[in-house]
């Protein structure tokens, strides 16, 4: 019997329409068809639909990596609109819609990332020097915020390990620290942030090198929008969202645990590890349940390590996670 298996390699990735894009097109058609003013509405909506599937942001081709996917039945994708208009990026305002309104002032080209610390090849790198754009993958990740809401997002990027390997961390490097861009002139609302800037985050080396940890450059088939951390950000799906630094300008290797911004702000509420954990509550709210946006209800049980326990629990074997929160 001949079993023909279609492999992704047979079809150029640019030819594949990801399901969510396909679905959003269908939704657009439905909306357009429902327009009472017919063609006129459709023409106007055509523009809005393009804005929704963002104009101005270049398309990125990436291979869907199903081994890091989620079950779309239990974890349906959030819409592009939801993911890009509900953001925590305090440099552009502390309220959720503000970054989408204000982050356009950030200049993301040209962009350099300073690599220093305990590393073989320190220096200033362009994004293309760090990220291999021919090897981009699309991974659908759950994103759980420490504020007890969550979304599902189709990110495009490369494993962070591939980025770090390029610059050669020394064996003595035990941690890596990420600095987010801080340019007051391009961030009019920075004085309201209420946190020390620039924003700092860090990971243990084994966490950073873990295959799940992603260096993200795109979202929903396009270049990452500024409010989501353009031009490049980290995403660590088993940790609370604040661990995933945005708009990275510096990668520093160190042998000491970095003091991340939220821990520096309120150490009793935010730790270094910040692994998603339903059993360790935030002092001001429980983490046992979460609200999967846009649902009104906080009715979803939070999963240990955000549902990635099989892959990452071993990193923390023997650690008291209530102490290292």
């Amino acid at each position: 019997m001949l079993i023909k298996i279609k492999t992704l390699a047979d079809i150029p990735s640019s030819e594949i329409t990801p399901e969510h894009v396909y679905r959003s097109r269908r939704d657009f058609m439905k909306v357009a068809a429902a327009g009472t003013v017919g063609a006129v509405t459709a023409a106007i909506l055509g523009d809005t639909a393009c804005a929704q599937a963002p104009t101005g942001l270049a398309a990125l081709s990436a291979k869907p990596n199903a081994s890091f996917g989620v079950d779309e039945k239990t974890d349906p994708l959030n819409t592009y609109e939801q993911i890009t208009t509900y953001n925590n990026y305090y440099e552009f305002g502390t309220r959720k819609p503000q970054p989408a309104q204000n982050a356009h002032t950030l200049k993301v080209k040209p962009w350099t990332v300073k690599v220093d610390g305990l590393v073989e090849k320190p220096g200033d790198y362009g994004i293309e020097d760090l990220v291999n754009f021919n090897q981009l993958e699309e991974r659908v990740y759950r994103h759980r915020c420490v504020e007890a809401w969550s979304m599902v997002m189709p990110f495009i990027g490369v494993p962070l390990s591939s980025v770090l390997s390029k610059v050669g961390p020394r064996a003595s490097a035990k941690f890596v620290e990420f600095t987010t861009v801080y340019r007051p002139a391009e961030m009019p609302l920075w004085p309201y942030a209420g946190i020390e800037l620039p924003y700092l985050e860090g990971l243990r080396m084994d966490e950073a090198m873990h295959p799940l940890t992603l260096m993200v450059v795109g979202l929903y088939g396009k270049v990452l929008p500024n409010q989501n951390g353009a031009p490049l950000r980290v995403h660590v799906p088993w940790k609370y969202g604040f661990k995933s630094g945005k708009s990275i300008v510096r990668i520093r290797f160190t042998d000491k645990e970095p003091l991340n911004t939220w821990q520096a702000t309120r150490a009793d509420e935010y730790g270094f590890y910040a692994n998603v954990n339903p059993n360790v509550s935030h002092p001001r709210w429980s983490q046992a349940r979460e609200q999967r946006l846009p649902s009104l209800l906080k009715n979803r049980p939070t999963l240990m390590f955000n549902g990635y326990a099989d892959q990452v629990a071993s990193l923390y074997a023997g650690m008291d996670l209530a102490k290292f929160y």
Binding site: N78, T79, E81, Q82, I83, T85, Y86, Y90, T94, K96, P97, E147, W149, M151, Y192, A193, G194, I195, T265, P283, R284, W285, S286, A288, R289, Q291, L293, P294, S295, L296, L297, K298, N299
Partner: protein
């Protein structure tokens, strides 16, 4: 100049308060935000517009109703100083109504917390244990509940019957409105992660209200002393 402006404000307030439809107009103004909330709930729940309030409609509605309750409480507390400063006694006729409206928004706010956060839309789903934990362990919930309990007591005892029954104690009891206002601001501060600019604005208002109360007390004392001396 200042005196003329003062007289102008006084005249405007008096004109407003003496208007035939003053009370119904204030009632309608207070009801508008509630209608907006009802409309937004319909958008999200009935009309299939999940993103009408942004990606987190529950948070939007909770913040909105909380803000409405707080604003109305502060407007209620501002009535008496306005009445005294500008000598427009008729303003008083809307004070109780404003206070009860503030309580109404607080009820909606607390109900939303119970339904959205603690799933109390049915007995089976309601997370009673979690509510208990929140009430014991989460300072911001405790502060909110202090404010809400205060407003509840004030709303219950707002009727003419209670005014008569409690006599002098009624006024004492109704100073709880200030306790509720402080607790509400504390509740607001404690839910913020780092940006405290908004609750700060409310505390400025509260400081002005306290300042005016102290001013009126001093004024009253000197006045009574003067009458005591002259008689």
């Amino acid at each position: 100049m200042i005196r003329r402006a003062w007289a102008g404000v006084s005249a405007v307030l008096a004109g407003l308060a003496n208007w035939r439809f003053f009370k119904p107009a204030v009632f309608i103004a207070c009801a508008v935000p509630l209608l907006v909330v009802a409309y937004e709930l319909c958008q999200v729940l009935l009309w299939n517009q999940p993103d009408a309030l942004g990606a987190d409609p529950a948070k939007a509605l909770l913040h909105e109703t909380g803000r409405d309750a707080l604003a109305l409480l502060f407007i209620t507390l501002t009535i008496t100083p306005l009445r005294r400063l500008f000598r427009v006694n008729r303003l008083q006729i809307v004070r109780r109504m404003l206070g009860v409206w503030s309580f109404t928004y607080a009820v909606v706010h607390v109900s939303m917390y119970l339904v959205f956060d603690q799933l109390c839309y049915s007995w089976e789903t309601c997370q009673i244990g979690d509510i208990g934990k929140d009430l014991v362990k989460r300072p911001f919930i405790i502060a909110g509940m202090v404010a809400f309990t205060g407003l509840t007591l004030l709303a219950i005892t707002s009727t003419g019957g209670w005014v008569r029954r409690l006599k002098k104690n009624w006024q004492r009891l109704h100073r709880l409105a200030y306790v509720a206002a402080v607790a509400a601001i504390v509740h607001f501060v404690w839910i913020q992660k780092s940006d405290f600019s908004e609750p700060l604005k409310w505390s400025y208002w509260l400081a002005v209200l306290f300042g005016l109360r102290i001013y009126f007390t001093i004024q009253k004392r000197t006045a009574t002393r003067r009458t005591a001396v002259s008689s």
